[in-house]
Amino acid sequence: MSFPWAQEYKPANAFTQWVDERLPLPRLVYNAVGAGYPVPRNLNYFWNFGILAGLCLGLQIVTGIILAMHYAANAGVAFDSVEHIMRDVNWGWMLRYAHANGASAFFVVIYIHIFRGFFYGSYKAPREMVWLLGVTIFLLMMATAFMGYVLPWGQMSFWGAKVITGLFGAIPLVGEPIQQWLLGGFAPDNAALNRFFSLHYLLPFVIAGVVILHIWALHIPGSSNPTGVEVKTESDTVPFYPYFVAKDGWAVGAFAFLYCLVLFFFPNALGHPDNYIPANPMSTPAHIVPEWYFWPFYAILRAFTADFFFIPAKLMGVLAMFSAILVWFFMPWLDRSPVRSGAYRPLYRKAFWILVVDALVLGYCGGAPAAEPYVMISQIASIYYFAHFLIIVPIISAIERPDPLPYSITEAVLGKDENVPLSASPTAPFPGTQHPNAHGHA
């Protein structure tokens, strides 16, 4: 599970020894986030976002459990119970703002975490399982966030639920029965609200379980790093404690500062005013938009405006929206370049930055009204989105000439590595990818 030079857990006293022999939990922690876990010494700040994501999950669970003590999942009183929390529950306003903005913070962190993975090739062998579990977590997060947004039972809650469950109605033949089965009725009502609340409470714990698998899978090969060159010797790593505990510690502080800035001074900036209007099935809002973190996918959904042969436009949109995330699962096999890090891949790097801009454009269009020019812009941006993952990346990985890699992490950090064997030429094409488990060239 770790490198041979990893420090071993030594019980400090008779009591910890007694515990260690019976339930080696302290040993597990020591090897996971303590001195027993050697980490590449060259990680940059993009590697702090995993911890921040874990922090967000914890924050959401804690604030959510307390909110659930005061919230009433009943279509008749849900909206009022949220206002009761805002007005009458001690510090209830802070809990609710912390939870609502906590969801936004979680997605900010997770998007950076995912795009870190795209740039540095974190999905590549031997870390495919880490990546697959990560995409699974993202899907669970989206489901959880969507159902959570329904709970205040405001206008956007109701109409968002109607639109999103309506997507299942696009499935041929069985679509409508599935939609009714999901909602427990013909439209969102008390049955839907109750099951959404139940699932919204359940899914975070499922996420926590998958997070444990995600971290477990990560600890098998160990963390990746900005060079993409695998760890070779002890001088390439530092123990997680104290080095990365210190680095994560101050990153957590900086994150908490920004988060609290929003929480206490702009708590409604990321929400939609319409959700302060109680749900009304008889009155459709002028523009139905989901929360900002769904905007890129919402833009893809709405980009399909014309029937494509025998496939209705709506079904195409639904297929594309789900495919836009499912395609991430295939990244390890679509990108067969033996070089992991985008820092040494001139073509891939360009495509990556176009993707970043593309995702921001999609996000902007997804939040805008479904009118021109936004629809046409989102069509062009969606074309690039799918082309990037399904056409450009596979082709680039076949034709690209990567830049020379450093021999080792130590060399990348210090400019020299005393362990460089005489036979290793510094300009060898891909010395960094010689992991025992690495697959051959594609």
């Binding site: 010494r41 206002e83 805002m86 007005r87 306003w93 802070m94 001088s235 530092v238 104290p242 080095y243 210190a246 680095k247 510690g249 101050w250 502080g253 900086a254 908490a256 500062f257 609290c260 206490f264 001074f265 708590p267 409604n268 005013p273 319409d274 302060y276 209007i277 002028a286 980009a303 399909f304 405006t305 014309a306 494509f308 436009a313 195409m316 594309a320 495919s323 295939f330 096999w333 679509l334 067969r336 009118a371 021109e372 629809v375 046409m376 069509q379 062009i380 969606s382 074309i383 799918f386 082309a387 993952f389 399904l390 056409i391 596979p394 082709i395 076949a398 210090l414 020299k416 005393e418």
Partner: protein
């Protein structure tokens, strides 16, 4: 093999998108979307400053009391304030006795203690503001088929809440001749009132504040329409978020603490990593 499949799937989506794009572009050229009166004549809220604005913003208690008076004497005839209880009014600077007196001035639905029948009784501090109409149908019947919305959350349920309320109340005007010239069909229907700050320009609510002195303030402030509009907008900022002051006041020490802790964390990080940045061997 996997590359071939992926490129085919990629072509499927991109071609379908290009097809949608082509169709949309063709429609955009042949049938350009018509310009609407709302698009051309709708105005963003006026610039107006409230005491509660900004990171150090605090409510002006005197203004809240004046705004409450405007609500009570004007708005409450049609608009409910269902999330606010009389007890909450202590936050406006009223004493417990004053709150009791205010509550007593409202008739709230209750039960006759002798017969058990529904009856009205004087309000108590624990009661919420009573609704002016028994239900939406009654509200529609009395208001030209429009339901006057509850005002408790109004300033959070609209973009630029306080500014919006102020602009809407002071924004009534005759329909511009330019509008009727360009959109002859967009004439304000009878019973509605033209107001460029309202989303679709025509509003069922008649101008609520029409003349100076409509409400007589006891604190000596001159009750111009502009002043009354500002006061009631401030009051509605409070009803939408009574904890606004506490939130901002809590925010500063929290941020101060986090800044301090983060700087300490950064320094300890620098200290711990000191040797790693330079030497080859730890």
């Amino acid at each position: 093999m996997i590359r071939i499949i992926s490129i085919l799937v990629g072509l499927f989506f991109t071609v379908a998108l290009a097809w949608s794009f082509g169709n949309g572009a063709y429609t955009a050229i042949t049938e350009p979307a018509p310009v609407t009166a709302e698009h051309e004549f709708h105005k963003h809220p006026k610039e107006v400053h409230f005491a509660s604005d900004g990171a150090f913003g605090k409510f002006d208690r005197q203004q809240l009391q004046r705004g409450f008076q405007v609500y009570k004497e004007v708005c409450s005839a049609c608009h409910s304030l269902s999330h606010v209880a009389f007890r909450d009014l202590t936050a406006l600077g009223y004493s417990d006795a004053e709150v009791k007196a205010i509550a007593k001035g409202f008739q709230v639905p209750g039960i006759d203690p002798n017969t058990g029948e529904a009856a009205m009784r004087p309000g108590m501090p624990t009661d919420y503001f009573p609704k002016p109409f028994a239900n939406d149908i009654a509200a529609r019947a009395a208001n030209n088929n429009a339901v006057p919305p509850d005002l408790s959350l109004m300033t959070k349920a609209r973009h630029d809440g306080g500014k919006y309320v102020y602009s809407l109340i002071t924004g009534y005007q005759p329909q511009p001749a330019a509008l009727l010239k360009e959109f002859p069909d967009a004439k304000t229907p009878p019973g509605l009132h033209y107001n460029p700050y309202f989303a679709n320009l025509n509003l069922a609510m008649a101008p609520p504040l029409t003349s100076e002195g409509q409400v007589s303030y006891s604190d000596g402030t001159k009750s111009t329409v502009d002043q009354m509009a500002k006061d009631v907008a401030s009051f509605l900022i409070w009803t939408a978020e009574p904890k606004l002051e506490k939130r901002k006041q809590t925010g500063w020490p929290v941020l101060g603490f986090l800044l301090f802790a983060t700087v300490l964390g950064f320094l300890s990080y620098k200290n711990i990593w000191h040797d790693k940045k330079k030497q080859l061997h730890s």
